[in-house]
C-alpha cells in the first residue's frame, strides 16, 4: 500500500485506488485528496472511469485495490448508508410514488441512529427545501415537476442528511443549456452556503472550468492531470488535456527539432521557453491554442495564411487559416471582422498560445514564435 496517509483536514482521501472487472482494468491506481469545503470536478469523456470513482466512494462499487477514507475513516468495508456521503444522480433517482416532501425526508425517516422525531424531520426537510427554493412544491409528485425542479429535489434530498461529502454524478446533463447555466449558479450558491466537500462528475468542460476549485482530468481510466482550472488551460500536462480543455479544440502538429534547438513552423521560428533547450532531432508535437491566436494587421504577426473557413460565434469569430505545407491554425477574430474565406490574414500569437509536447504527448514547455527572416 502507498505511503500516503489521509490528512485530518481532508474530507475524502483515495490512496492508490484502482478498479478492475476481471482482467479488464478500468481505473489505474491513483491518489486523490479532497479538502474540507473543496469543490473538485472529475472531468473526462464517456467511459473514462469518472462515475466509477464516484460509485466506489459511495460504496455502490467495490474497490479492487487501494483505500478510500471519508472524514478520516477507512470506508472500504463500510455500507453505503454508513459512509456519511450523499449522492445526486444523473437521472435524479427520485422516488416517483412519493411527494417532494417525502422524497426529501426519506433519508431522515430511514435514519436509525439516531432515530429522528417527526418534528425534527419536518423542520429539516423544510430547511433543505428552502435552500433549493422548493418550498412551494412540497406536496407535488416528481412527475408534476420540471427537469430543473426535479434536480433541485435530488439536491435537497442530498443536503438534508448533512453529510461530510457530496457526490454529484453529472447532475445537470439532462437539462437544457439555459437551465444548466442557471442550475450551475444555484449549485455554487448552495455549495458556498453549506461549505462541504463536493465531488462532481461531468464531461462538460464549461461546468468543470466554471465550478471547480480543482479539476481532475481523466481519460481511459488514467488520471491525466489534477489542477486548478487555470493551470489546466495554461499548462496542460499532455496533449489529451490540451485538446480536451478549451474550445475550439487545439490543433496539433508533429515537428522535428532543428539543430539549433528551435522549431520551424510555416514561416515562423518557434523557440521553447524551457531552461533546457529542445534536443536537436527530437520529434515533438506542437499545439496552438486558438483563443490565444489573433487575426491582426500588425507587422508583429508571426504567421500569415489563407482563410479557409469562418465560424461566427456571436462574441467573436474563429478562422481556419491554411499556413501552407500542410499546416493550419485556428485563429480568433473580431465578431464583425470583414475577413472572409479566401482572404489572406496575418496571425499574432499571445503568450501562452503555443505548447510543445514530447513524443509520448507529455508537455515539455511553452514556446514563442517569431517570423523567420526571408
Amino acid at each position: 500500500m502507498s505511503a500516503v496517509s489521509p490528512r485530518a483536514d481532508v474530507a475524502v482521501s483515495l490512496i492508490q485506488v484502482a478498479k478492475s472487472y476481471g482482467d479488464v482494468e478500468v481505473l489505474q491506481p491513483f491518489d486523490l485528496q479532497v479538502g474540507e469545503g473543496e469543490f473538485v470536478v472529475l472531468l473526462g469523456p464517456s467511459g473514462c472511469g469518472k462515475s466509477t470513482i464516484m460509485k466506489m466512494i459511495a460504496g455502490l462499487e467495490e474497490v479492487s485495490h487501494g483505500e478510500i477514507h471519508v472524514a478520516g475513516e477507512l470506508v472500504n468495508y463500510v455500507r453505503p448508508r454508513d459512509r456519511d456521503v450523499s449522492m445526486v444522480f444523473q437521472n435524479y433517482a427520485l422516488y416517483p410514488h412519493m411527494t417532494v416532501r417525502d422524497n426529501i425526508a426519506f433519508p431522515l425517516t430511514m435514519s436509525r441512529r439516531p432515530r429522528l422525531k417527526r418534528d425534527v424531520i419536518g423542520a429539516r426537510t423544510l430547511e433543505a427545501a428552502d435552500i433549493v427554493d422548493l418550498a412551494p412544491y412540497l406536496d407535488r409528485k416528481p412527475a408534476q415537476l420540471s427537469g430543473g425542479q426535479r434536480q433541485r429535489v435530488a439536491l435537497a434530498r442530498a443536503i438534508v442528511r448533512q453529510p461530510a461529502v457530496f457526490l454529484m454524478d453529472e447532475p445537470l446533463s439532462n437539462l437544457d443549456a439555459l437551465l444548466r447555466a442557471d442550475m450551475r449558479t444555484s449549485l455554487l450558491e448552495v455549495h458556498a452556503r453549506i461549505k462541504k466537500a463536493t465531488l462532481y462528475v461531468t464531461h462538460d468542460q464549461i461546468e468543470a472550468m466554471t465550478m471547480a476549485d480543482r479539476v481532475v482530468v481523466l481519460n481511459a481510466g488514467r488520471i491525466q492531470q489534477i489542477g486548478r482550472p487555470r493551470d489546466l488551460y495554461t499548462a496542460p500536462a499532455n496533449t489529451f488535456v490540451a485538446q480536451f480543455i478549451g474550445s475550439p479544440r487545439m490543433p496539433l502538429h508533429d515537428l522535428e527539432v532543428r539543430d539549433d534547438g528551435t522549431l520551424s513552423f510555416a514561416d515562423a521560428t518557434l523557440t521553447g521557453d524551457a531552461d533546457v533547450p529542445l534536443a536537436p532531432g527530437a520529434s515533438v508535437t506542437v499545439g496552438l491554442r486558438p483563443s490565444a491566436l489573433r487575426a491582426t494587421s500588425s507587422a508583429s504577426a508571426c504567421f500569415a495564411g489563407k482563410v479557409t473557413r469562418r465560424d461566427y460565434l456571436g462574441s467573436d469569430s474563429y478562422l481556419d487559416v491554411d499556413l501552407g505545407a500542410g499546416l493550419s491554425v485556428m485563429v480568433r477574430a473580431e465578431a464583425d471582422s470583414a475577413v472572409r474565406p479566401g482572404d489572406t490574414v496575418r496571425v499574432a500569437a499571445d503568450p501562452g498560445a503555443i505548447h510543445v509536447f514530447d513524443d509520448v504527448g507529455a508537455r515539455v514547455c511553452g514556446a514563442s514564435a517569431r517570423r523567420q527572416k526571408r
Binding site: 448508508r81 449522492m87 426519506f106
Partner: protein
Amino acid sequence: MTLSPEEHRRLAKRYRRRTTLTAYAFLGPNLVAFAVFLLIPVVWLLVSTFRTGGVLGPAEFVGLDNWRDTFSDPLARTSIRNTVVYSAMAIPTVFIIAMILALALNAIPRGGAPIRVALYLPTLQPAVVAAFIFTFVLHPDFGVINYAVRWLGGDPINFLGDTTLALPTIAGIEVWRGTGFWTMMFLAGLTALPGELYHAAELDGAGAIRRFIRLTLPLLRPTFYFAVIFATIVNLQLFDSVFALTDGGPVNSTVSVSLYIYRSLFLFGDIGFGATLSFLLVITVLLLTGLQTYLLRDRK
C-alpha cells in the same frame, strides 16, 4: 397561392376520415373474432338462462326458473364456495412464493438462467401431465410422500381422498404449476425498475427490507394490478386439475364452478342450468375485476 377556409375544412375532413378508416381496417379482423367468439356466445348464454333445452330438443322459455334453481341448488353453492376457498389459498400462496423467488433471482448477478428454466418447467406441464406426476407423488400406497411418511413411522395420508385435504392439495399442485409463470412475471417487473433508485435508497439508509416495502412494492403496482386480475380470472375457472385428479370428489369437496358447469351441460344436458351458472361466473369475474381495478388504482 393559398387554399380557401372551405377547401381546408374539406381536405382536413378527408384526411381524418382516411386515418380513421385505416385504424378500423386494422381493428376489423379482431372485432369480427370478438363478436363471433365472445359477444354473440355471451348474449346466447344470457338468452339460454331463461330457457330450457335447445340443443337436442326445442327450446322452451322458463322465465327465472333457472336462476331460482341455481341459487337454491346446494351443489351450486358448494361449487362456488370451493372455488372461492381454492382461489383464496392458491393466489396469495403462489404470489408470495413467486415474489421471494423473483427477488432471489434478481439478486443473482449471473448464472440465473438454468434456475429460471427449472422454475418455469412446471408451468409448461399440461394439467393432465401434472396430475399424472402428482399421482406418483401423493398416492396413499405408492406415492413418494407417503413412502417418506411411512419411513418416518407415520400413517399414510390420503391427500386426494380426504374431504379436508383434497382442495388444499389441488391448490398446492396449481401453486407448483403457477410458480414459474408468476416468478417470471415478477422478475420482469423487478428487472424493469430503475437501478439508480435503489442506489439512492441504499445511500439514504434504507436496508433491504425497507427498500422492498418502501420502493419495490409501490413501484411494482402495475405488475401486481395485472397479476391479481389475471390470477383471479384464471383461478375462478379452475377445471382441468380437478377433472383429472378428483373429478370433484371426495363427496363434492373439490367440485369447482367450471366442473359443475361442465357436468350440467355435457353430462346432464341441463342447458338452462349450466348457462345460468356460466353467466354467473362471467358476472363474478367482471365484478371482481372492477373491484380490483378500483382498489388498485393509482391514487394521484
